[in-house]
Amino acid sequence: MKQFFKKFYLALVLIFLYVPILVLIVQSFNAGKSRAKWEGFSFHWYADLFSNASIMNALWVTVSVAVVATIAATLLGTLAAIGIYSMKKRPQAFMMTVTNLPNTMPDIVTGVSLMLLYIFAKVDRGYWTMVLAHVTFDVPYVVLSVLPKLKQMNKHTYEAALDLGATPAYALTHVIIPECKQGIVTGALLAFTLSLDDFTISYFTTSPLVQNLSTLIYSATKLGISPTYYALSSLMFVVLLVLLLIVNHRTEDNKG
């Protein structure tokens, strides 16, 4: 009975989380434009999606910004984590404060402050200013995922490698990096997801001429949103779900 109640409660919460998503997916197949009326099944909005230049362009901006920002943030963050790890206590504490600072700032303040930086430096906002902003909010997450892995590592492995004749560069790429590989992957995935879904910071750091999906959707809500966007997000949702299932399947295979 108790167990049933627990499952029932969890099911209710999950229904609450999934209902809007199901509604979006169903509406993406609605033949009509109205949100309220079901006018028959159709792929109309999916066809429309691929011929819609502004959505395709925004999709390209979103994905390319996420990829570039993730690569840059992962490189910068991994190097930084190794550096911070080998620092003395005082500078290390300072660097940790700086790393945690963006976490305590609301998105809107981060966005606004970067906008002020671009205004102050007289840089026109656009694609690259958005990339720089994304790298900025991504890096701390990479640092915070790599650092714990370094702390777990046996300190003497690196020294042993040096004693056995490895150059520091060789020891770095063959001992330290493999040890914290898992942290690097986690950090990169986190950075990519955050970057893909960001609205507030992108909104303040780009120009109306360069839109990512979120800012495009935001400007579309003012005019009434077309079901084409539902089709797009349903597609993206399914792609991510399939990717997750593949990854899950593979890890299970590896275990077995």
């Binding site: 979006l24 620092m87 998105d107 402050s113 720089l132 935001y218």
Partner: protein, 329 residues
């Protein structure tokens, strides 16, 4: 697409910085002993200086100056009294008597208080809904723990704006919920464009941020502690209240932080579901920057918000001095 126009000195400075850094690393790698690996953090340090510390300083700078760059406290006066500038202009033209007829405009302060209240409500509702969910997920008899975590994450892959818009089609006058009410014979009800709709949207979007940290701290807990309490005669409510809840406190605290912060500052949810009837502080900051184009007042508002958040964070940290609260999973 590439419309980055940096001043010439910035390019040179960057190139110089990069060359210096590569030189330093190369030098330290070549020396076999005493390798300064701490130098690896240099690009990151520079990056954070330029893109995090400097922007924060700029917010302070713009907040304390006027449009001509003169030092002033007018922006904070305008926060307290939105008619301040108007009254001062009137004073200059028509004298003190006329100026006295302009009453204090409390719109900014009211908006701040209202946002704090809404964020508080959202945090309480998320905690009340989320704590049992996390508790049941961490239950060892459930056997589904990690699958459930994934089930809570998946909805967050749908674009945040579209998820919020989806609520519109549920809540609208001719939306699905009202269609159901109509069908049952209850008649249609106005569900959108009010405070409850905004609250619903906020709870919907931020609930997972409450569930994850609590789940993390609960699943790290030693189940033997709860068993021991029961062996010593506690009933299950007493065990929950005296053992489990205190042990999950770090998770609760980081959950509260992660829900409270974005809910004070959100501007999309109140705009879509509140339809302009409810104005929140994030909304105010956004329109001050983007619509009014007043960077100075906007910076002052952002600064006030940042200070408020830092104060509430430090109060919360006091409750959890070890800072052991789990982050997102």
């Amino acid at each position: 697409m590439t419309n980055l126009k940096l001043p010439a000195w910035a390019g040179w400075a960057m190139a110089l910085g990069l060359a210096l850094f590569i030189g330093m690393v190369a030098l330290s790698v070549r020396r076999n002993h005493g390798v300064k690996r701490s130098l690896f953090a240099t690009p990151y340090t520079l990056w954070m200086m330029i893109f995090t510390i400097l922007p924060c300083i700029l917010i302070g700078y713009y907040a304390l100056t006027d449009a001509n760059g003169r030092l002033t406290l007018d922006n904070f006066r305008s926060f307290w009294d939105s008619n301040y500038i108007m009254r001062e202009n009137l004073r200059a033209v028509a004298g003190d008597e006329m100026a006295a007829t302009v009453a204090r405009g409390s719109v900014n302060v009211d908006t701040l208080v209202y946002s704090l209240w809404m964020a508080f409500l959202c945090t309480v509702v998320s905690l009340v809904l989320g704590y049992p969910a996390a508790l049941f997920m961490a239950d060892r008899k459930m056997k589904l723990g990690s699958t459930l975590v994934v089930l809570f994450i998946i909805p967050m892959w749908m674009n945040f704006l579209l998820r919020t818009i989806a609520w519109m089609s549920l809540l609208e006058d001719n939306g699905l919920i009202n269609a159901f009410f109509d069908w049952v014979g209850m008649g249609r009800v106005q569900l959108m464009y009010n405070q409850e709709a905004v609250l619903l949207g906020m709870v919907y979007n931020f609930l997972p941020f409450m569930v994850f940290p609590i789940y993390t701290s609960l699943s790290k807990m030693d189940p033997k502690l709860a068993e021991a309490a029961q062996d010593l005669g506690c009933n299950s409510f007493r065990t929950l209240y005296k053992v489990t809840m205190p042990l999950s406190l770090p998770g609760v605290i980081s959950g509260i932080t992660m829900v409270f912060m974005p809910s004070v500052t959100t501007f999309f949810i109140p705009r879509v579901l509140g339809g302009g009837n409810t104005r929140m502080f994030g909304d105010l900051i956004e329109s001050t920057f983007k619509t009014a184009g007043d960077w100075n007042l906007g910076s002052a508002l952002s600064l006030i918000m940042m200070i408020l958040i830092l104060i509430s964070l430090s109060i919360l940290r006091k409750a959890d001095p070890n800072g052991e609260g789990g982050g997102i999973i």
